[in-house]
């Protein structure tokens, strides 16, 4: 596997969505390639960052009350 292929599969690798064979190929490449390994860390951090920034948003309490009222008449 070359660097271009590795980077192409990096997100699916992070998402644990590759076949075991492909996953092993990416892992082997990362172990022997510092720039790709650095990019792996960078992309991993980015996905965690997006999740953290967006998960803070929750349904407003008023909406929850409204839905319970509609569903169960309370």
């Amino acid at each position: 596997m070359n660097c271009r292929e590795c980077v192409e599969h990096l997100y699916a690798y992070l998402d644990r969505e590759l076949t075991p064979e492909l996953e092993a190929e990416v892992r082997d490449h990362l172990e022997g390639c510092e720039p790709c390994d650095e990019q792996y860390d960078f992309e991993e951090m980015f996905l965690k960052f997006v999740r953290a920034k967006c998960r803070a948003e929750n349904a407003p309490p008023e909406l929850k009350k409204r839905i319970l009222r509609e569903l169960f008449g309370e």
Partner: protein, 188 residues
């Protein structure tokens, strides 16, 4: 009869209502404004409750609910809540941020200075096909298979939309960080 009703309510609360926050986040990113997101979530929950006997207990309630929500959005809200999608999904420009920051900030520390609202705005600016894949995966943690079912596309399409959607999002946030002076960068 009263028992049946009580059981239905209990199982709905246990398996469906616990996903209210997740549904709201998805609705917010699809609809683009709070009022429509509220209505969309309420409608989804009412529809789900009405067809609760079609849901198989213990299967994936979150994916089932998101599918209802997305269908409601497409059928009833999309036309009036958002401008028609003018961006051809094939024209989303691939943008690789890492090579730009590799020297200056390979750890991506500049991302931490970007506030929540700016991230949400950047997601909202993505073309819909990419936005929904990014939200379902990166915000809600759904698998490619689950997302493929919700969006009714092949798993390979989910993979490529995520790749391009994430790159586009990263590119937007990177350019914003350069504008704000969080990172010097090399944007022309």
């Amino acid at each position: 009869m009263a028992d049946e009703k009580r059981d239905k309510r209990a199982s709905f609360e246990r398996e469906a209502l616990i996903h209210l926050d997740a549904l709201y986040r998805v609705a917010r990113r699809l609809a683009g404004n709070e009022a429509d997101a509220d209505d969309l979530v309420q409608e989804t929950m009412l529809k789900a409750y009405r067809s609760w006997d079609q849901y198989q207990s213990g299967t994936n309630a979150k994916a089932w609910l998101v599918t209802i929500l997305r269908n409601a959005f497409i059928n009833e809200y999309r036309r009036r809540t958002r401008r028609p999608e003018t961006v051809d999904v094939d024209t989303l420009e691939p943008y690789a941020v890492f090579p730009e920051v590799q020297e200056e900030d390979p750890q991506g520390a500049f991302f931490d200075r970007i506030v929540d609202d700016e991230v949400l705005k950047a997601i909202d600016d993505l073309p819909e096909a990419f936005r929904e894949a990014v939200v379902l995966s990166d915000v809600e943690g759904m698998s490619y298979q689950e997302i493929a079912r919700v969006l009714d596309v092949p798993v390979g399409t989910v993979k490529s939309r995520l790749f391009r959607g994430r790159q586009a999002l990263q590119g937007k946030l990177y350019r914003y960080a350069v504008e704000q002076g969080y990172i010097k960068g090399s944007v022309a």
